[in-house]
Symmetry: C2
């Protein structure tokens, strides 16, 4: 069973090397005078992003249904931090580059508001780096994860607004597999194994709502610690999935502001 994971990842490693596929991150600091804007505007940034990318690429995204990017807003001290993550090299070139090179300020047409860009920061990481850091490494069995923005899952037609480990791991595996045609980390068996060997040992969580085009999605924010039992390969797989989750987000609507997550560094438990 464990060998299978390793095999997949070795295989994937080779694929990545040839494809030179990569993960991208762009942070844009925006002015938010008197904290007048809040989370409710998050979904408007989907419009800003769509106007920035080329029409053919937008068409392509629409046609394939794939979303090789995620984005979310954070609000702090009269500032908005807009973070855009990409999960393929193409998405980095098509989504991050135009925002990085051309955009001087952010125009929220629906609100008739223009936000001044104060700073832009960009960073990239290859899948090979990610695997070397997280999978071919003695990962920490305690994963301390913050859900930075409203997070939710859809299961059997209903919104689930608490951190169900099955839905979390399933979502991360699917997002990992979706961003590239060549990978397949997901299997029913691997998922079952992960869930059986994982427990939430600490949490601080609250329910909240995410506003999107007039609808309100029940969701949650907060922090959990997950303990992964079992062999190191299992621990490493979980670490890899969550490290990837920092780019992909988790759960529904991660392309328009939901499901942003951060893995907090911690020494031990």
């Amino acid at each position: 069973m464990m060998e299978k994971f390793v095999e997949i990842c070795y295989y994937r490693k080779d694929v990545i090397i040839y494809e030179v596929d990569m993960l991208g991150k762009l942070e844009i600091m925006l002015e938010n005078e008197d904290n007048r804007l809040n989370y409710n505007i998050s979904s408007l940034f989907q419009g800003v992003l769509m106007e920035s990318i080329s029409a053919p690429y937008a068409d392509n995204l629409h046609k394939t249904g794939l979303k090789p990017y995620s984005q979310y807003l954070e609000f702090e001290n009269n500032l908005i931090k807009w973070t855009i993550h990409t999960m393929t090299e193409e998405a980095k070139n098509q989504v991050i580059n135009p925002l990085l090179n051309n955009m001087q300020d952010v125009n929220l047409k629906q609100k008739n508001i223009t936000l001044k860009v104060l700073e832009k920061k960009v960073s990239i990481k290859t899948y090979e780096q990610l695997l070397n850091e997280k999978y071919f490494f003695q990962g920490n069995p305690y994963l301390d994860v913050t859900f930075i923005t409203p997070t939710a899952f859809k299961s059997q037609g209903k919104y689930v607004f608490y951190p169900d480990l099955k839905l979390i791991f399933q979502s991360l595996m699917n997002k990992f597999d979706n961003s590239s045609a060549n990978s397949s980390i997901y299997s029913e068996e691997a998922l079952e194994h992960l869930i059986e060997n994982s427990d939430i040992t600490r949490y601080r969580l609250k329910s909240t709502v995410f506003h999107m085009e007039g609808i309100v999605i029940p969701s949650f924010m907060g922090r959990i610690t997950i303990k992964i039992r079992g062999p190191q390969a299992m621990v490493n797989l979980a670490n890899l999935l969550f490290a990837y989750g920092e780019y992909s987000g988790v759960g529904i609507k991660s392309a328009i502001g939901m499901g942003g997550l951060r893995v907090n560094e911690r020494s031990t438990k």
Copy 2:
């Protein structure tokens, strides 16, 4: 199905009238200079209570295994509020009365600390009053509940430290039934019905631990809103159970500081 609940409660109402059974509440305000004491001392108050009650009654509690009382501590601004609830008239006489009439200060022998009593408040309520207020009344379908002290359940040999609605309702029903020989609100069917018709719609929760005789019990504190769907009788039953839960506590170790709860008044949802 619904008729059955009503029947039970009508029946129970008659029983109560003849037994003149009652619920009691004693609040004792204690000095906590410089906030030097915290939740970790909660279980020591079991010793204080046991020394205050008569030997024959203590023996009786031990023999029957029943715990017709609950107690917990709350800490605020150099004060400790010690709340003792009783669920039978006998327990009111045997547990609350000695603390009310004889105790001048609280002596924590293990810590060699004496806490000054600043104030005592007592109140009683008959089961009949409780039923009239909560069951024979248009109860609110939204129940806003605060878990004031660390709360946990035991299920299949493991601690459950989140508010599982099945375990909550089961615990409240069992505590209701246990405190008096003549009542039987619990049935598998009634419990199933309650769970099927209840959802947590809001929450703000954190995991914590409760210290007891050197062991550490994983638990949670915080606030939830439960929505009860279905007929008014169902809504009223849930209101009755939680109103009772203010006296009995919920989950494990409510006789030594865990599982204290409060139902918050709210106008609508």
